[in-house]
């Protein structure tokens, strides 16, 4: 039986009320572990490294504290009061509690309580972009004027595992509101999801497991391509229309390769490609790339973002930058300012900061 036409055509997400990004803010912790340190300890320095270095949180940091700082930066750029937020949503795979929301900590700390929703989102590395889409719907339907979506992680990498080179820390917060007050209008979004177990962490386990090369073609590439192509097809855009594009970045190779497969030039990808210097920030990865792009974007720029979350799915978004961007950029520290705030550590300090030493 043939499917009805509207079910074969991708229908993009576009709310009835135009919405946009009103404020945004990044956070990257101060410490950097060079990938060469992981190679030194586990491979006697052989075998090359997937990135230069990754960001490591301090002893007193976790997803909640990092989300608070990014959220404060987003509120500063929005010029609204946090009490106008009707949702504070945090996407992460490293929520500090198994049960108890991170979002209420963030909402309380930024002054958004009590007249707000608070929820934690979980979909591996795309938990933050799902919260972003929900914010679009929440504001776009008129149920709220402002909502906050945050993607933030202190990613776990098993000692000696391939992921230990890249499992970084950081993320970004986005304050979604009416398009007329925005620094970038959200022109549409699309989600592409299947049950593909390429990477997971079972309950009560400290480290994730992954399907090695299975994480590539059937997982990352299929979903990123599927979401991005569908969005572009629905919006009628060409790769050359975009000033910047950012893909989920588990390493430096995947986003460059998928960009090439989709027809993007490296120059379109470079600004948002942060994985070489901060590592894979998981739920924060695509969003902090977008934040780095917005830091330098110009009015009229068209931006494409596609996340990827294992398990698996991708969310794709198109943004058009407005004239508000130039004043808002300067109201909080930029993503690169956080990246430049850098203190290199060795593997032994890393194990201490990340609580990998057995103390009792």
């Amino acid at each position: 039986m043939a499917l009805p036409a509207e079910m074969t055509q991708p229908k993009i997400m576009k709310p009835t009320r135009d919405v946009g990004i009103v404020g945004y803010g990044a956070y990257v912790p101060r410490y950097r572990l060079p990938a060469a340190e992981v190679a030194r300890v586990w491979k006697e320095g052989t075998g090359g490294t997937p990135i230069k270095e990754k960001a490591v949180p301090g002893k007193d940091e976790d997803t909640a504290t990092m989300a608070v700082e990014a959220a404060r930066n987003a509120v500063k750029r929005s010029k609204i009061s946090a009490s106008e937020l009707r949702a504070v949503w945090v996407g992460s795979e490293s929520h500090p509690y198994a049960v108890k929301p991170t979002s209420t900590i963030v909402a309380e700390a930024i002054g958004a309580v009590p007249s707000t929703m608070g929820a934690d989102w979980q979909f591996a590395c795309k938990a933050g972009t799902e919260a972003f889409q929900a914010s679009m719907g929440f504001v776009g339907s008129g149920m709220a004027d402002y909502a906050m979506a945050i993607g933030m992680d202190t990613a776990q990498g098993k000692p000696g595992d391939a992921l230990e080179y890249t499992a970084g820390a950081g993320g970004a917060a986005f304050l979604v509101g009416p398009a007329e007050n925005s620094l970038a209008v959200i022109e549409g979004s699309y989600s592409f999801v299947t049950d593909t177990p390429d990477f997971w962490r079972r309950a009560n386990k400290p480290y994730p497991e992954h399907g090695q090369r299975f994480t590539g073609e059937p997982a990352y590439f299929r979903h990123v391509m599927g979401a991005t192509e569908s969005l572009m097809e629905a919006l009628g855009t060409q790769p050359s229309d975009y000033a910047h594009v950012v893909f989920h970045q588990p390493n430096a190779k995947f986003p460059m390769r998928v960009g090439k497969m989709l027809g993007f030039a490296p120059t379109q990808i470079e600004t948002g490609l942060l994985v070489p210097t901060i590592g894979n920030t998981y739920a924060g990865a695509a969003l902090i790339g977008l934040s780095a792009i917005l830091d330098v974007a110009k009015p009229g720029d068209l931006i494409l973002m596609t996340s990827f979350g294992s398990g698996a799915g991708s969310d794709s978004f198109q943004f058009r930058v407005t004239d508000n961007i130039e004043t808002r950029q300067k109201l909080a520290p930029t993503t690169q300012q956080y990246i430049k705030r850098r203190t290199e550590i060795d593997y032994s300090t890393y194990t201490r900061l990340r609580g990998k030493l057995v103390m009792k």
Binding site: G58, D60, A64, E69, E108, A109, Y338
Partner: protein, 145 residues
């Protein structure tokens, strides 16, 4: 385990909410029953900016229970730009880089955890100021806003 003890201090710990004396306008942190300046009993809530300078500091090598994993860590007395001193850990700084007069800003960090199973307690610490673009630009923009 202690829950309510920390919960009731969240306003102060998350947002540096103190008081301003309704009578003499003294800025007060932490909040108290009677103004330390004029002894009047009425005050209203006041949220401090979180900016200040290191007034004094000490690096703790012999740490109390629950803080051993963080030692050596530096505690500062921070003079807030509104006047009061606050006792708080300094973070995101090497202990040997702390000095009196250092410009610092408030951040929210993990203060302690109540054992292996209890709540995580978050609150203010201070760190060297992360600049917001160039200062002149920032000043101009705030002047316009």
């Amino acid at each position: 385990m202690q829950v309510s003890r920390h919960w009731r201090l969240q306003q102060q710990r998350y947002a540096l909410v103190g008081q301003v004396c309704a009578d003499c306008e003294e800025k007060i942190f932490p909040p108290r029953g009677v103004c330390p300046n004029c002894a009047k009993e009425t005050s209203t809530a006041f949220e401090f900016s979180g900016r200040g300078k290191v007034y004094s500091f000490s690096t703790v090598y012999t740490a109390p229970a629950g803080f051993e994993g963080s030692a050596p860590y530096t505690i500062g007395l921070v003079q807030l730009e509104e006047g009061p001193l606050v006792t708080a850990q300094l973070t995101d700084i090497d202990n040997d880089h702390v000095e009196i007069g250092l410009d610092v800003e408030m951040v929210t960090r993990k203060l302690l955890q109540d054992g292996d199973r209890g709540v995580l307690v978050y609150g203010y610490k201070f760190r060297p100021v992360v600049p917001v673009w160039e200062t002149e630009l920032e000043d101009e923009l705030y002047a316009l806003a």
